[in-house]
Amino acid sequence: MSEITLVQAINRALTRAMRDDPTVVVLGEDVAKDGGVFRATEGLLAEFGEGRVIDTPLAEGAIAGLCVGLAAQGFRPVAEIQFTGFIYPIIDQMMNHASRIRTRTRGRLTCPMVLRSPCGGGIRAVEHHSESPEAIFAHMPGLRVVIPSSPARAYGLLLAAIHDPDPVVFLEPTRLYRAIKEEVPDDGASLPLDRAFVVREGSDLTLVTWGAMLKETMATGERLAAGGVSAEVIDLATLKPLDSETVLRSVAKTGRCVIIHEAPRTAGFGAEVAARIAEHGLLSLLAPIERVAGFDTVMPLLRLEQHYMPEEQRILAAARRVLAFR
């Protein structure tokens, strides 16, 4: 068995889900014949045909809205929004319909849909192609928000998202699509949607992150280890519902925490993580929490994007400040 990339793992999970469950349909712009602009849906049309792999007209709002109709009818639509810069038109449908049709009808109609979208910067893409909107979705009751950061987690979490009886926004960091390879057995096993992953154990400092920033965060962990500091790294992976327990347990152990994300700092999801610690883990804290995040500015065009996304230097500096605090 060979190693595969994250985007291949997405493809593998889609294939597996479609084989196992005839109600799973894939749709979106350029997902069928072209196989998706990142090739996440490559090969699906050939295997499953036009009835289950559907190129849509260019209309993101309606794509989300029609998933609500399909899902209420018992299908499990998995829609792709081509880039997160074009995901904003779906917010209305997610907020007013997908996330609440179960509540509104007291469970009579439900919405088992998945909305996949490549997210984040760092691939020298065109304007509006590098956004990180996870906090917006994490604020919506009735939704789940998932961001995988390894091929194996992408496979297991996407399967879980497809099997889940409620709507899931599934954001895929483009920067990781082809950055890592690992073995991902096609065993159909899904991962829990309410558990954070401790991807590096440590005792001196907790680094909490998700998505593409896991890369720089892990690198920071290694760098700190070289200096004799033992950092625990948590990949939240499922932002909503948030597994605060895993975070709190770690902070109880380390007493120090840095939260890293690529989205703008203010009202980013890092704030929620910090707030949970300030509420439930305050007594363990030996130092102020720090957030290392994207600036509260527009994501710059490609020449400066690497300065926008938290660089290892910035994470390291924050970690050192937090470690040095007495």
Binding site: L66, V68, A72, N96, P241
Partner: protein, 333 residues
């Protein structure tokens, strides 16, 4: 003349359904005025659209109503109590009494149009002979998602019929300030689907037009848009005062065309309906509505924790904590 219009029982059914709708509307407005119902949108004058649409549908078709199709919901079996519960602020009103697959009332204007496309796609993928029917107002035709939905329905030739209840107004905005299109039916041209106008004050015409469109859609011939031209005789809702923006003269004029008196005149002329029938019916409907109101008012409230009950299929841990806290707070009180 369509077949059903030769059948006096059917005509009388349509008539009674419209009168029930109007009787109910009047009662609902009265309940709101006395603080026993939330803001309520009456369908006064537009009963022929809701009833005509529903009467054209089969049980297995699927209705996606906006907020002014009480008459259609009633025809499809939603109980008066449930409609009251919903507008009285209780989610259980959308739980169950109509066809289990129908969509609940849709308040954000036009946002149910893409749902109808998804439903119709499901019918098509499963090869079912069912049609999704989406009813919306004239104002909804300005919303982008409606245009998106029409377009997708067209290119995929889906079994869906969009009905526009053109009641002349979107709150204070008349159709002439809503669009420069000469008709709303021609919104269909942009999507390459058939569009037609029908007299929305003629329940027979509405039902016939919708039946034709449903038959075409059922046969695999794709979607259609029907503009039913009627008039909103009431305020927009109980929260509105239409005298601020339109003249009494206009409204009085439109009372001459309203659909119930019109069908009654026809029934009477054809000697299918008498004064005695009318009186008997009014008494019966009024009793029916009163009974529904009584049972609505007697409905035990939902417990506070019901706020949490259907957020997800299973309650996530952190939400369970919030639920427990809410329960604790409640028992402390």
């Amino acid at each position: 003349m369509p077949d059903f219009a030769r059948d006096s029982t059917q005509l009388i059914n349509l008539y009674q359904a419209m009168v029930l709708t109007r009787t109910f509307d009047a009662k609902a407005v009265a309940l709101q005025r006395t603080g026993r119902l939330g803001t309520y949108p009456s369908s006064l004058g537009q009963e022929a659209v809701a009833v005509g649409v529903a009467a054209a549908m089969r049980e297995e078709d699927l209705l996606l109503p906006s907020f002014r199709e009480h008459g259609a919901q009633l025809w499809r079996g939603v109980t008066l109590q449930d409609i009251l519960l919903y507008w009285g602020g209780d989610e259980r009103g959308s739980a169950s009494s109509g066809p289990r697959h129908d969509f609940p009332v849709n308040v954000p204007v036009g946002s149910h149009a893409p749902h109808a496309v998804g439903v119709a796609l499901a019918f098509k993928l499963r090869g079912e002979q069912c049609v999704a029917v989406c009813v919306m107002g004239d104002g909804a035709t300005s919303k982008g998602e409606v245009a998106e939905a029409l377009n997708i329905a067209g290119v995929w030739r889906l079994p869906v019929v969009f009905v526009i209840n053109n009641n002349g107004w979107a709150i204070s905005v008349p159709v002439a300030r809503q669009t420069a299109a000469a008709t709303l039916a021609q919104k269909a041209v942009a999507a390459g689907i058939p569009g037609e106008q029908v007299d929305g004050n003629d329940v027979i015409a509405v039902r016939a037009a919708v039946e034709d469109a449903l038959a075409r859609a059922r046969a695999g011939n794709g979607p259609a848009l029907i503009e039913a031209i009627t008039y909103r005789l009431s305020d927009h809702t109980t929260a509105d005062d239409a005298s601020r923006y339109r003249s009494d003269a206009e409204v009085s004029q439109r009372w001459n065309e309203e659909p119930i008196a019109r069908l009654r005149r026809y029934l009477v002329k054809r000697e299918l309906w008498t004064k005695a029938d009318e009186e008997r019916m009014l008494t019966a409907l009024s009793t029916q509505v009163d009974a529904a109101v009584e049972s609505y008012l007697a409905t035990a409230p939902q417990p506070v924790e019901s706020i949490f009950d259907h957020t997800y299929a299973t309650l996530p841990a952190d939400l369970a904590d919030q639920r427990a806290a809410a329960l604790a707070a409640r028992s402390r009180r």
